[in-house]
């Protein structure tokens, strides 16, 4: 059901294309095709102007980060301490959030677009060296980006005195080796320094101030940077003419699970609703076999769940946040009425429990507890007190109200995103998110699995 056999998963449509415009060509990853389709013209346009002006363009275009947090790239570039050099660029290609894939396609199908984006970022923000960190399990992406870098160096687009200018920067291809937590930007930096990928405590120091080798470092997502060539080639006005004022441009969204036509779609930012995405003819065309929609995860495995009541929300970060979830990494996972909810929650929670780096006790122990309790509930050995225990353990990771969607059936009002946390990074809370959503919205399914046996308490002395 993919539009092109060479881009499995990608579904094209009659919509604006910013980052996927070359997916229609089988040889889209070659320098030849890239140059024939406007390649490196954004870089030329950038080099013709002072760096500060390019930085302003990116700021004015409000290019939101596509990795998960949605922080504007231009603002992020401006957070480096004035006059402190050298500064580095680290590209986050460690995509591994459940449900998410777009960076893999962008690296496999259009590696030069990413390289050009890196160069524009380095030029605008005064970043002197770039490290392109690709997730270890993406062998094809390594090969495509590696070849593209070799070709771009040979043609003078990367390296010393790029296109005859004073702009010089090296891009080194770096390999990951299998660790989800490395997608967190400070863990990515640790990993790039040749250490275990354990996130750093922040605040006080964010990577823009103290990052790689203790120097100011910008960490940007692959999709974010892939927007830059188009933006520079077509200008800020053309970019902001697509989407909404707060969320301009497009976004890559992967819709998976129980829909008729799962796929990766480049959608107009901010205006497309979840109903459009799940039921629209040009998108997923409805739930498989005419089944009913039970729930969906709107923004990657860490996001609190939505039900059909939230279908008319647009794909816009602030609105989704106020409704009790997040857009995250652009991944929607759809569950129809046949879904075993406790098992689905277990699948998600197991992921985060498995991926805990082990630094923070609430995540290392709590995630594993959540997984084990869910496992015994799914195996029919759970007791009534296990449901309270799930909440107790979850609350030790995320004290206070956890975000959730409203439900007229349950009389719930939405609690907005984000949560409080007792851990350094978001992996711990992410283990609790699916448990909290599933238990809040579908408690009766957990209760139906509990054992009817009476357990004999173990008393002292036995």
């Amino acid at each position: 059901m993919s539009t092109y056999p060479w881009a499995a998963g990608f579904v094209a449509g009659d919509r604006p294309q910013i980052v996927t415009s070359r997916f229609q060509y089988e040889d889209s990853y070659t320098l030849e095709r890239y140059l024939a389709t406007g390649g490196y013209e954004g870089l030329r346009a950038a080099l013709a102007k002072p760096a500060a002006q390019i930085h302003d363009d990116v700021k004015n275009a409000t290019v939101l980060g596509r990795g998960g947090a949605g922080f504007p790239a231009g603002t992020k570039w401006g957070l480096t301490p004035a006059g402190k050099f050298p500064r580095y660029l680290v590209v986050n290609g460690d995509e591994s959030e459940p449900g998410t894939y777009k960076d893999r396609l962008l690296m496999e199908r259009d590696p030069h677009q990413l390289i050009e984006g890196c160069l524009i970022a380095c030029y605008a923000a005064g970043l002197s060296q770039c490290f392109l960190y690709i997730r270890g399990e993406m062998a094809l992406a390594h090969e495509r980006v590696g070849q593209a870098l070799n070709d771009a160096y040979a043609a003078g687009y990367v390296g010393k005195n790029i296109l005859g200018s004073r702009f010089s920067v090296d891009i080194a291809l770096h390999w990951g080796a299998g660790a989800y937590v490395v997608g967190e930007e400070t863990a990515l930096i640790e990993s790039l320094e040749g250490k275990r990928g354990e996130p750093r405590l922040k605040p006080p120091f964010f990577p823009a101030a103290i990052g790689l080798y203790g120097q100011p470092t910008i960490v940007n997502n692959v999709e974010t940077l892939s927007n830059m060539p188009w933006l520079l080639r077509n200008g800020v006005e053309a970019y902001t003419a697509i989407g909404t004022q707060t969320s301009p441009g497009t976004r890559m969204v992967a819709v998976s699970g129980h829909v008729k036509r799962p796929g990766v779609y480049e959608i107009v930012n901010g205006t497309t609703t979840f109903r459009d995405l799940l039921y629209g003819d040009e998108f997923c065309q409805g739930i498989r076999k005419g089944n009913d929609l039970k729930a969906f995860v709107p923004g990657g495995g860490s996001a609190p769940w939505f039900t059909p009541e939230q279908l008319d929300l647009p794909f816009e970060g602030r609105l989704v946040g106020a409704a009790g979830s997040m857009l995250g990494s652009g991944a929607v996972m759809v569950m129809d009425h046949t879904t075993d909810i406790p098992k689905a929650a277990l699948s998600l929670t197991r992921f985060y429990a498995h991926e805990s780096c082990g630094q923070c006790t609430p995540c290392r122990e709590g995630g594993t507890w959540l997984e084990r309790i869910l496992e015994r509930i799914c195996d029919g050995h759970g007791t009534e007190s296990d449901l309270d225990l799930l909440i107790e353990v979850g609350t030790s990771i995320c004290p206070g109200a956890f975000p959730h969607a409203s439900s007229s059936k349950l009389g719930l009002e939405a609690t907005p995103f984000p949560y409080k946390m007792t851990t350094i990074c978001f992996v711990g809370p992410s283990a609790y998110a699916p448990v909290h959503s599933a238990l809040t919205l579908f408690r009766e399914e957990f209760e139906a699995k509990l054992t009817k046996r009476t357990l004999i308490p173990v008393t002292a002395g036995h």
């Binding site: 499995a8 760096a51 006059g83 402190k84 050099f85 459940p98 449900g99 998410t100 894939y101 893999r104 030029y123 005064g126 002197s128 060296q129 270890g136 399990e137 993406m138 062998a139 094809l140 390594h142 090969e143 590696g146 070799n150 160096y153 003078g156 390296g159 004073r166 702009f167 010089s168 090296d170 080194a172 770096h174 390999w175 990951g176 080796a177 299998g178 660790a179 989800y180 990993s191 790039l192 320094e193 040749g194 250490k195 275990r196 120097q215 992967a254 998976s256 699970g257 799962p262 995860v297 495995g301 991944a331 996972m333 569950m335 879904t339 098992k343 689905a344 699948s347 998600l348 992921f351």
Partner: protein, 201 residues
């Protein structure tokens, strides 16, 4: 014997030269050693420690954090079955059980002929093409049980040798950074502002 070979030592030096700090090359060098031997040997870790200026314990401490590094021999083909949410919703559990029966091993196990190691893994970024499988980190999409049987038969018969190299070889294309084209490493300890920024101000 399982230190890096002389050819790989040259590659290792080239990789190290791309980083301002040698230790940053740790993971790429571990991959290189895994490519050479199919797994990461103790001798290779000692050799890498010498090359990046740290101890073998530090190298092992780092390497053991990452799932792709194996510290004992595994099968020629590492068959990974995704069990994360999107694949779970579309039958990954059944596929995993089927794979266990076909290969006669549980996740983590290697077949007695040394051809296959089965792993149950988490999200491999192919969620719309569920259930997804990787063999030596090359994707296979929408794998029904009969597709899985065919895949195993093809691998056994060596029909996919061009497409799927032996375990350890991650990418068959390497980055080569030509000395005459390179901008050079930027030392974090030398506070120099970039030339193009100076020109602007």
């Amino acid at each position: 014997m399982s230190r890096l070979s002389s050819a790989n030592l040259e590659l290792a030096k080239e990789i190290i030269s791309r980083y301002p700090r040698a230790r940053s090359a740790m993971i790429p060098l571990l991959h290189l050693s895994q490519e050479q031997n199919g797994y990461v040997t103790r001798e290779a870790m000692s050799h890498i420690a010498e090359l990046v200026g740290t101890t073998a314990a530090e190298v092992y401490g780092t390497a053991s954090f990452y799932e792709m590094f194996k510290f004992e021999p595994i099968g020629r083909y590492c068959v990974n079955i995704c069990r994360s949410i999107s694949c779970h919703l579309l039958g990954a559990d059944d596929l995993l059980h089927h794979a266990e029966e076909v290969l006669g091993v549980k996740p983590g196990g290697t077949t007695s002929d040394g051809l296959f190691t089965l792993e149950a893994v988490e999200c491999m970024a192919a969620c719309t093409e569920a259930p997804a499988v990787q063999v030596n980190y090359r994707h296979r999409f929408r794998v029904a049980t009969e597709h899985f049987d065919q895949l195993i038969a093809d691998l056994r018969a060596g029909r996919l040798a061009d497409e799927i190299p032996e375990h350890g070889t991650l990418a068959r294309v390497r980055q080569h950074l030509p000395a005459d084209k390179a901008a050079g490493n930027v030392d974090p300890g030398v506070p120099v502002s970039p030339a193009w920024m100076e020109a602007a101000s």
